[in-house]
């Protein structure tokens, strides 16, 4: 099963490599990875999506917790949560396709953020499924480049991941 694990870790050199290294070293999967500092400059938030059965996920969270740089973590998929990913796509936009891309972007509530004579750059936010669906819709027209941020997420309701 797919899990989204969000980690608060020390914003220090080497911390990221310890997390990533752990996955490689213990033969765990990383599907997506997303990391940036938080409002507290001493902390970074890292969100990783991974796949594994309950036993594997239990080991992953235990080993992550053991890392000295990891301060706190939560498996967002254990409860209700909001999951978002941002994607920038360059698609061919010539002739009839120019309108088609615009219409599809509107349907997906995506925005066209850059334009040239021959292509559109589209920005779209959503969960991974929505982004995949948009790519599928664009495929016949011609996708030139894709940049995805990887999943970021937060729990619904009053639950807060903080120190």
């Amino acid at each position: 099963m797919r899990h989204i694990i969000s980690i608060l870790m020390e914003n220090e050199p080497g911390a990221l490599s310890r997390v990533v290294g752990l996955f490689a070293q213990r033969n765990y999967n990383i599907e997506t990875l997303n990391v940036a500092p938080t409002e507290d400059p001493s902390l970074s938030r890292l969100t990783v999506t991974t796949v594994g059965d309950d036993r594997v996920i239990e080991q992953i969270t235990k080993h992550l917790n053991k890392l000295i740089d990891v301060v706190k973590l939560v498996d967002l998929t254990e409860g209700n949560h909001i999951e978002r990913e941002l994607m920038l796509v360059k698609v061919k936009a010539l002739g009839a396709a120019r309108d088609e891309v615009k219409r599809t972007a509107d349907i997906f509530r995506a925005q066209i953020v850059d334009v040239t004579a021959s292509l559109y750059t589209v920005q779209i936010t959503g969960d991974a499924g929505k982004l995949d669906a948009f790519l599928q819709a664009m495929a016949p027209i011609g996708i030139l480049e894709v940049a995805r941020t990887g999943v970021s997420g937060i729990a619904r309701g009053d639950k807060v991941l903080s120190l």
Partner: protein, 574 residues
Amino acid sequence: MELLSGADMIARFLQDEGVEYIYGYPGGAALHIYDALFRQDKVKHILVRHEQAATHAADGYARASGKPGVVLVTSGPGATNAVTGIATAYMDSIPMVVICGQVMSHLIGDDAFQETDIVGVTRPIVKHSFSIKHPSEIPEVLKKAFYLASTGRPGPVVVDIPKDMTSPTERYEYVYPKKVKLRSYNPVTRGHTGQIKKAVELMLKAKRPVFYTGGGVVSGGASEALTDLVRRLGYPITTTLMGIGAYPQGDRQCLGWLGMHGSYESNMAMHHADLIIAIGARFDDRVTNNTSKFCPTAKIIHVDIDPSSVSKTVRADVPIVGPAGSVINEMISLVQGKEIAHPEALGEWWQKVDGWREERVGKLYEPSGPGEKIKPQEVIEAMCRVTRGEAFVTTDVGQHQMFAAQYYKFDKPNRFITSGGLGTMGFGFPAAMGIKQNFPEDQVICVTGEGSFQMMMQELSTCKQYGVGVKIVNLNNASLGMVRQWQDLNYKSRHAHSYMESLPDFQKLIEAYGFTALRVETLDELEPALERTFADKHELVFLDVQVDPREHVYPMQVPLGSMRDMLLSKTERT
């Protein structure tokens, strides 16, 4: 207020931390630190002949004394040579602080002379590591390193120090940090009381219980508490290789150690048990054999200080995360005054267990006949007699390691010192060196083989320099015995590179360093030679015993089988 250079801060910190010995080897990036050590005399530096030996010596020192071992090496090859020893300490959870010199910070990343990203190289084999970014951080970072290495589940910590951080011309305020805090590191100090209660209920109701205890009991200083608990309940106990001596092996309740080459009765008892009380052990593959066939009828209580060890390979029915000592003490207080529910079932269980024990009496190995080569087992048994089972015994890796563990009987923890997790050849001799310096009045024996010994024999020179009187018992079968055994069993005796041609004349070699060497070929020479070896505990003696190369280590678990599936000799199996 005191102003010190980075290098002087390191020397002063080590003094303030109470470090007695530091094992190391100098080089360019570490020279400021070496100069600072030279200008003080509280911390003794031991100059080894190879950095791997520095880590093993510090490791041996740490295991025997319970204090963190300290290593100092230079950048690049100095640091990479230390890697095997760091991994050895990591696998066996040994507290160690390794200070590595590094090239000047402005050169990092330029492929400078003797530059290695040692923090990167060692990342998967350390508990944590630090890189010094400013000299003023040195005292706090070192304090954190010692704190991390020696608390919780212990392990090695690397501190990488660029040369300019130790420059003698830049001085900063030095204060010894008495305490450090890490917001993300709070090792547990006690187990969950509800879980412990649940465990004790199961323990009192068990009909076929076995204690299975490991290195966590030894490093947690919980041997006495364990012995108390096990005696109160009257249950059988088996230990892991790392847990040898945590419960006296001479006691009737002790079945010896378990696993691949563990005792027949240990493995049989584990397989048939209805309750396994695992404390400070990690269900390692050399213990469990095939986990899907592991102890089919047993419920499992698993006590470990490291949550990630619990239910890692075998699911625990009652997991308890906590230090062995405090959990065992809490168990004792709950057991106190209570009776076990099924004393008659325990009686029957002991009949079975004793039956397994008796089955193998006198059948463990075939003693050597007249005119035959000495059996390696005979050497260890004689060695145990001559030293009355009181010595520190270190080993390298292979058949001799298993024979030492099987035939020397340990009644105290921290006396059998071996690389159990990583299985590092070359560990034994430098580890013995580190122990001997801490326990000069004890007999410290390195049981080795001619293969392993040749991996670290350069340390004879270190022993000469510091007058380290360890004993080296070389079970010389002119082959890599354990490799040969596997080749006999699995490769139709095709001995691919498991023989040792062109062995040195060990007697001459040892004498070249000014030490005594004895060579034994027949059984009647053995005991007098051992007496001579142990006559003066301050003298290094090398005893080269020519042993039978055809001998195998038994019992031996059958691959992919359960714990009870064992080869018992070349012709018998369970």
